[in-house]
C-alpha cells in the first residue's frame, strides 16, 4: 500500500487537495464547522509533507516522469517531476500551511457567514491544488487549465468578505486576468501550430531543430506569453490590478495571493520558456533583455509607489510589485546565478510577504487602524507581532542572516557575472528603497511611545504560532541556506540544461 502511494504521490497530492476542496461544502452542512477548518489545515499539511518527500527524492535520486492514465509522453498528459517542481512544491507547502492555520482561527467572523467560510476554504484548497498542479505538470495545455483554475479561485478569494470595495477590485482583477489568459492561450495555440505537440519536452525538441524556419512566429508566441503571464504575475507596467485586489482582500487571502499565486504563473512562464522553448533560443531572441529591463523598472517603480502609500496593506501590495521585479530580473539575466536567485527569491519572498501580510492583518484586526501614521506605539501593545513584522521587514530589505539576503546575493552574483552594472545598481537601490518604505512602519510602531503606554493585547495564539513559524523559516533559510540553495541551483541547472548543447 505504501509503495502504491509513493509511486503515485505527484498525482495523489493534487487529487487529495481537489477532493477535499469539494468535500468542504458538504462538511459545513453535516458537522461542526471547526471540523472543516481542521480538515483543511490537515490536508494542506499532508500535501506539504508529500511535497517535501518528493523534493528530497528529486534532490537525491534525480527527476522522473509520471504518465497520467498510462498514456506515454507525446499522447498523454505527462507530469514531469524535476528540481523545479520539487522546489515549488516545498515552497507551497511551507507557506500555505501557516496561512491556512492563521485563517482557521476566526474565519467565520472574518468573512461573515458559515457558508461563505466554507466557500473560502474550497477556493483556498482549489488554489493550492492548482499551484501544485502547475509545479508538477509537463504539458502545456495542462498548464493553461491549472492557470485558469488558479485565476478563478484567486479572483473569487479576493471578494471573500463581500464588501463593495473588494468586489470592485475583484472585477478589475478578473477582467485583466482574463485578458492575460487569452494571451497565454493564444501563445499555446501558436506553439501547438508550430510543433504539433503539447508536451513541453517534445515542443522543445521540435523547436530546437526547426525554429530558424519561423523565428517571427516564435517571437510572437513568446511575446504573448510574456504579456499574458506578466499581467497575471503583476510585472510592472501591467500591475494595475494588484494594489486594489491585494489590499482590499482579507489578510489570509492577501497573504496567499501575494506570496504564492503570482509565483505559480512565474513558474509556468519559466517552464514554457526554458523547457518548452529552450535556453539557447531564448538567448538568441531579445526576450531576456526585455525581461531584464522590465524587472529593473518594476523594482524601482514598485518601491517608489510603495513609498507614497500611507495604508499599510497597500504599501505591502506595492512592495510585491517591486519584489516580483527581482524575480523577473533574475529570469532576464538568464545565467545560473540569476536563475538560482530567482528561485531563491520565489521562496524567500513567499515566506516574507506571507509573514508581513499576516502580521499586518493581526495589527489591523486588533487596533482597527489601517494607516501607518496612526500606528504609533503598536509595538508596546503587540510585541510578538511587531517582532515578526520586524524580521519580515529586515528580510525584505536584504540584511544578512535573513532569507532575503541569500536571494539578493545570488542575483548580484548573476548581474556581475553578466557584466550588467546597471542591474547591480538597481539591486542595491531596490534594497535601500525597501528600507525606506518598511523601516518607517517599525519606527512609528516601536519608537513613538504614546503617553499612556497601552496594555499588552496580543494576537490569538494560533495566529501567533503561524507567524512565528514563518519568521523562524525566514531565519533558518537565512542562516543555513545550504540545502535550499542546493535545490535552487539544481532547479536552475535543470532549466539551463539545453543551453550548453
Amino acid at each position: 500500500m505504501s509503495l502504491v502511494v509513493r509511486d503515485n504521490l505527484p498525482v495523489l497530492i493534487v487529487v487529495a487537495l481537489l477532493s477535499s476542496a469539494y468535500v468542504m461544502p458538504l462538511l459545513t452542512k453535516i458537522r461542526r464547522f471547526r471540523f472543516a477548518e481542521f480538515f483543511a489545515v490537515f490536508m494542506i499539511a499532508l500535501a506539504l509533507s508529500g511535497g517535501i518527500y518528493l523534493g528530497q527524492g528529486i534532490l537525491n535520486h534525480g527527476s522522473f516522469t509520471y504518465a497520467v492514465g498510462g498514456w506515454a509522453a507525446p499522447w498523454g498528459i505527462e507530469l514531469s517531476l524535476d528540481a523545479v517542481s520539487g522546489f515549488f512544491l516545498i515552497t507551497i507547502g511551507l507557506v500555505a500551511t501557516p496561512i491556512m492555520l492563521y485563517a482557521s482561527y476566526d474565519l467565520v467572523a472574518e468573512v461573515g457567514s458559515r457558508s461563505r467560510a466554507a466557500w473560502f476554504l474550497t477556493l483556498f484548497l482549489l488554489l493550492v491544488a492548482a499551484l501544485c498542479g502547475l509545479a508538477i505538470t509537463g504539458d502545456i495545455f495542462n498548464i493553461y487549465v491549472m492557470v485558469e483554475v488558479a485565476t478563478i479561485a484567486s479572483c473569487a478569494i479576493v471578494s471573500a468578505r463581500n464588501d463593495s470595495a473588494s468586489v470592485a477590485a475583484t472585477f478589475k482583477y478578473l477582467m485583466l486576468a482574463t485578458i492575460g489568459s487569452g494571451f497565454v492561450l493564444l501563445g499555446i495555440g501558436f506553439l501547438f501550430v508550430l510543433t504539433g505537440n503539447l508536451n513541453l519536452n517534445y515542443i522543445g525538441q521540435t523547436l530546437r531543430l526547426t525554429w530558424q524556419n519561423y523565428p517571427t512566429a516564435l517571437w510572437v508566441a513568446l511575446s504573448f506569453f510574456t504579456v499574458g503571464f506578466g499581467v497575471k504575475s503583476a510585472l510592472f507596467p501591467l500591475h494595475v490590478w494588484l494594489p486594489d485586489a491585494h489590499s482590499t482582500a482579507i489578510s489570509p487571502s492577501s497573504a496567499i495571493l501575494s506570496s504564492l499565486a503570482i509565483k505559480g504563473y512565474i513558474i509556468a512562464l519559466l517552464k514554457i520558456f526554458y523547457v518548452g522553448v529552450g535556453a539557447q533560443i531564448i538567448w538568441e531572441l531579445p526576450i531576456t533583455a526585455i525581461l531584464t529591463l522590465l524587472g529593473m523598472g518594476a523594482i524601482v517603480a514598485g518601491a517608489l509607489f510603495a513609498l507614497a502609500q500611507d495604508e499599510l496593506k497597500r504599501r505591502l501590495a506595492f512592495s510585491t510589485v517591486s519584489q516580483v521585479g527581482y524575480i523577473f530580473l533574475g529570469i532576464g539575466l538568464g545565467n545560473i546565478h540569476g536563475l538560482t536567485g530567482s528561485f531563491m527569491h520565489i521562496l524567500s519572498h513567499a515566506l516574507t510577504k506571507a509573514l508581513l501580510f499576516l502580521a499586518a492583518g493581526a495589527m489591523i484586526k486588533r487596533t482597527g487602524k489601517t494607516r501607518i501614521s496612526e500606528m504609533a506605539g503598536i509595538g508596546f501593545k503587540m510585541p510578538v507581532t511587531l517582532g515578526v513584522f520586524a524580521i519580515g521587514s529586515l528580510s525584505m530589505i536584504g540584511i544578512p542572516l535573513f532569507s532575503g539576503f541569500v536571494s539578493k546575493w545570488q542575483l548580484l552574483l548573476g548581474a556581475l557575472a553578466k557584466g550588467n552594472y546597471l542591474a547591480v545598481l538597481v539591486l542595491v537601490a531596490g534594497s535601500l528603497l525597501a528600507a525606506a518604505y518598511l523601516l518607517p512602519v517599525l519606527r512609528t510602531a516601536l519608537f513613538v511611545r504614546p503617553t499612556p503606554t497601552p496594555a499588552k493585547d496580543e494576537a490569538p495564539s494560533v495566529q501567533l504560532v503561524a507567524m512565528v513559524f514563518l519568521a523562524a523559516l525566514v531565519l533558518v533559510v537565512g542562516v543555513f541556506p545550504h540545502q535550499v540553495l542546493q535545490l535552487a541551483q539544481k532547479a536552475a541547472a535543470t532549466l539551463l540544461r539545453w543551453g550548453v548543447l
Binding site: 495545455f141 485558469e148 471578494s159 468586489v167 472585477f171
Partner: protein, 135 residues
C-alpha cells in the same frame, strides 16, 4: 498580389482569429459598461477557438468519430477540438463569475458603469465613510 498577399489569403482563418482577438481586447479595455466588457471577453475567447479549430482542420475531413464500417475516411484533428471544449468550459465559468460580480456591484453601487463605480469608490475613500451602504 505579391507573395505576402497570397499567404494572407491562404491563411485567412488565422487573420480572422487575430482580428477578432483584437476586437475583443479593445472592447474589454475601452468600454466602461461592465456587461460590454463581459461580451468582449467572450469575443476574445471565441477568436482563440477559431484559431485552434482552424489549426486542426483538414480540408475534406469529417468529424472525428470513428466509423468502423468505412475505414478510408479522412478525419479532422480531434485534439484541438477537445482542447477548445475545455476552453469553452473555462470561459463559461469566467462569464458566470463576472456576471455574479456585476450583480453584486449593481446592488451596492446602483450602476453598471465602471467609471461611475470608480468615482463612487474614490468619493467613499475621501469622505472616509461607506457611501454605498445605504443603497
Amino acid at each position: 498580389m505579391g507573395e505576402f498577399g497570397s499567404r494572407i489569403v491562404q491563411n485567412y482563418p488565422y487573420v480572422f482569429a487575430l482580428a477578432l482577438f483584437a476586437i475583443g481586447v479593445y472592447t474589454i479595455l475601452t468600454h466602461s459598461n461592465l456587461f460590454k466588457k463581459v461580451i468582449g471577453i467572450n469575443i476574445m475567447e471565441g477568436s482563440i477557438y477559431v484559431l485552434f479549430i482552424a489549426a486542426g482542420n483538414v480540408r475534406g475531413g469529417v468529424a472525428p468519430v470513428l466509423d468502423l464500417a468505412n475505414s478510408d475516411l479522412v478525419y479532422v484533428h480531434p485534439l484541438p477540438q477537445a482542447l477548445m471544449l475545455t476552453g469553452i468550459v473555462v470561459s463559461v465559468s469566467v462569464t458566470a463569475l463576472s456576471l455574479a460580480l456585476i450583480m453584486k456591484l449593481y446592488r451596492s453601487y446602483g450602476t453598471v458603469d465602471a467609471r461611475e463605480i470608480a468615482r463612487l469608490t474614490r468619493l467613499g475613500n475621501e469622505v472616509g465613510a461607506d457611501v454605498t451602504s445605504g443603497s
